[in-house]
């Protein structure tokens, strides 16, 4: 019985995701932000990272750039892109229309988010491979941590995109409302500046940001230098953000335009 139900749910989410993927392919703006920006940004911060005083942190340039590149992908291909998608579908009354059918709310969000999540996933793999090949990054020593980090990152980004969409009135303003988290994460989550280079108090504050645990886990996956004990903090922080996201979406997500 439950297998039947699962198959039905998977079928519905797939149908929705397929339509959403078609739309993704037809939107030039989306392709630029979601596909090219995350591929280009790591190159542009490379010189800055090379000028950083990484001695004493035990980090190489590649070890800073690789998790950072995945962070860019999460921020642009998943988070920013999805804020626009959720708002766009809401303003076109697509979400309201979908809610008149059999799809449950979670399925609507999942199906709508799936193409962006897939983009983020594929991009992360490509970026990791490129960094490995071009920056002499060795193979990950604890790949499971990188996988956990990436999955948590995708979940947090989808949920926060839905929360941000709830605070956004138009597709145009989605560019603006997505900015605060993007900026804060770029500076404070270890995407461009490793937390090791920050003053201690600031670093421990930055550890609580939504994407910091994700970057920490991914980097730990490559360095293999995170002890089991040291992984607990980031995992719990990321789970806390995900839980807060689920709560906020249930409470504040808007399914139709304001009257």
């Amino acid at each position: 019985m439950s297998a039947v139900v699962d198959r039905v749910v998977v079928g519905r989410v797939k149908a929705l995701a397929r339509a959403e993927l078609t739309l993704f392919g037809r939107s030039k703006g989306m392709i630029v932000t979601a596909v090219f920006v995350p591929l280009v940004l790591p190159l542009s911060v490379r010189t800055a990272v090379e000028d950083m005083d990484l001695e004493g942190t035990g980090l190489s340039v590649g070890m800073v750039l690789l998790p950072g590149a995945i962070g860019f992908s999460l921020l642009f291909a998943v988070y920013s892109a999805l804020v626009g998608v959720f708002v766009g579908r809401r303003e076109e009354l697509v979400l309201k229309r979908l809610r008149t059918g059999e799809l449950r709310d979670g399925e609507i969000l999942a199906g709508t988010a799936l193409p962006a999540v897939t983009t983020g996933l594929v991009q992360s793999l490509v970026l990791a491979a490129a960094c490995t090949a071009l920056l002499d990054v060795p193979a990950p020593k604890a790949p499971h941590l990188a996988v956990v980090g990436l999955l948590l990152g995708l979940a947090v980004c989808v949920l926060l995109a839905a929360v941000t969409a709830g605070l956004t009135r138009t597709v145009e303003s989605a560019q603006v409302t997505a900015l605060p988290l993007v900026m804060v994460a770029m500076v404070g989550s270890g995407i461009t500046v490793p937390l090791e280079l920050m003053p201690d108090r600031m670093a421990s504050l930055c550890e609580l940001l939504p994407l910091t645990p994700v970057i920490t886990l991914i980097r730990g996956g490559w360095t293999g230098e995170l002890s089991a004990y040291e992984t607990i903090g980031p995992v719990l922080t990321a789970l806390a953000w995900a839980a807060a996201g689920v709560f906020a979406v249930g409470r504040w997500f808007r399914w139709e335009p304001r009257r």
Partner: protein
């Protein structure tokens, strides 16, 4: 399910929006299996607010709704596979084609018809490869109707299904709705077109300011309304020259310049007396208009009552 059970039961329904606006103020009605029921009203009467509650899009502020015996909001998983919904306004991504939209929706519906079959039902199959943004308003309405029909619903909710359609499209939609009704589908529709309600609905309710002003079959609703006779008084004649109006079965009259309007529930008698009088006097009644009660009369009557109340208040 017992065939005597109503498909839709609404009891004392209320809906108050966040800002405190009371859109639905305690309405009750029921719809029997295979019936076409129309909610008729002006803009802002509460039609859409009511239908959205029946569709289970939001919980009511007060009162009770049963669709196929279930609460459409709390038990949506049971109700949704058996209902089809056409919202007042689109809700399709503008960059998808008609066929892509139908295929997407078919993937989300249990026991769906083939998408092309649904598009054929509404005469949209030849527009399959056109993007939604390039459709006319009427074509979009028909796409919406096609999607509502994809799941072969037992209950169909149509919110202003023919708004934006040309005369031919409207007739096609009416025929489709009748065919569905003949196939056993229960239909609840809203409209502000009187002829649509009159021609299509087995029963209807006229909504006004969130309340049901009058309900019944179109014949019952119009039967409660007086008929009208109007004509121009011949030169040199005054209303007082007519036979005593009370004896003609006239309820009320008004004079507007030379034009006299009579309201009566005994149209044949009143009209005969007026014509006999004209014939005896040897005068011609210009602009003579004899008209039975219509839904339009009922509708305008309700709006006028409210207007009069507002003026008095």
């Amino acid at each position: 399910m017992d065939t005597n059970t109503n498909v839709i039961e609404v009891t004392d329904l209320r809906r108050v929006y966040g800002g405190g606006f009371e859109a639905v103020r305690g309405i009750s009605f029921s719809v029997a299996p295979g019936e076409v029921f129309a909610l008729l009203g002006t803009n802002g009467a509460g039609k859409t607010s009511t239908v959205e509650l029946l569709e289970g899009l939001a919980p009511p502020t007060g009162g009770r709704i049963r669709v196929l015996g279930h609460d459409p909001y709390a038990e949506r998983a049971v109700v949704r596979p058996r209902t089809g919904v056409m919202l007042q306004e689109g809700g399709f991504p503008s960059e998808l084609t008609v066929a892509e939209t139908a295929r997407m929706w078919a993937g989300c519906v249990s026991g769906a018809r083939p998408p092309l079959e649904a598009l054929e039902l509404v005469g949209l199959a030849r527009r399959s490869d056109v993007r939604v943004k390039q459709l006319s308003g009427g074509e979009r309405r028909r796409l919406d109707l096609a999607l509502a029909l994809l799941g072969r619903p037992e209950v169909l909710f149509l919110d202003e299904p023919t708004t934006g359609l040309d005369a031919e499209g409207r007739r096609d939609t009416w025929e489709l709705v009748r065919a569905l009704r003949d196939g056993g589908t229960t239909v609840l529709l809203t409209t502000h077109y009187l002829e649509e309600a009159e021609g299509l609905a087995d029963r209807l309710a006229i909504l006004h300011e969130g309340r049901i002003a009058v309900t019944g079959t179109p014949a019952e609703v119009t039967a409660g309304q007086p008929s009208r006779i109007s004509f121009e008084l011949p030169d040199g004649y005054f209303v007082g020259d007519l036979p005593p109006l009370g004896q003609l079965g006239v309820l009320s009259h008004e004079v507007d310049g030379r034009v006299v309007r009579l309201r009566t529930r005994e149209l044949q008698r009143a009209a005969t007396e007026v014509l006999v009088w004209a014939s005896r006097a040897g005068v011609e009644l210009r602009g003579l208009d004899v008209r039975s009660a219509s839904l339009e009369e009922a509708f305008l009557g309700i709006a006028a009552q409210e207007f009069a109340q507002e003026v008095r208040a």
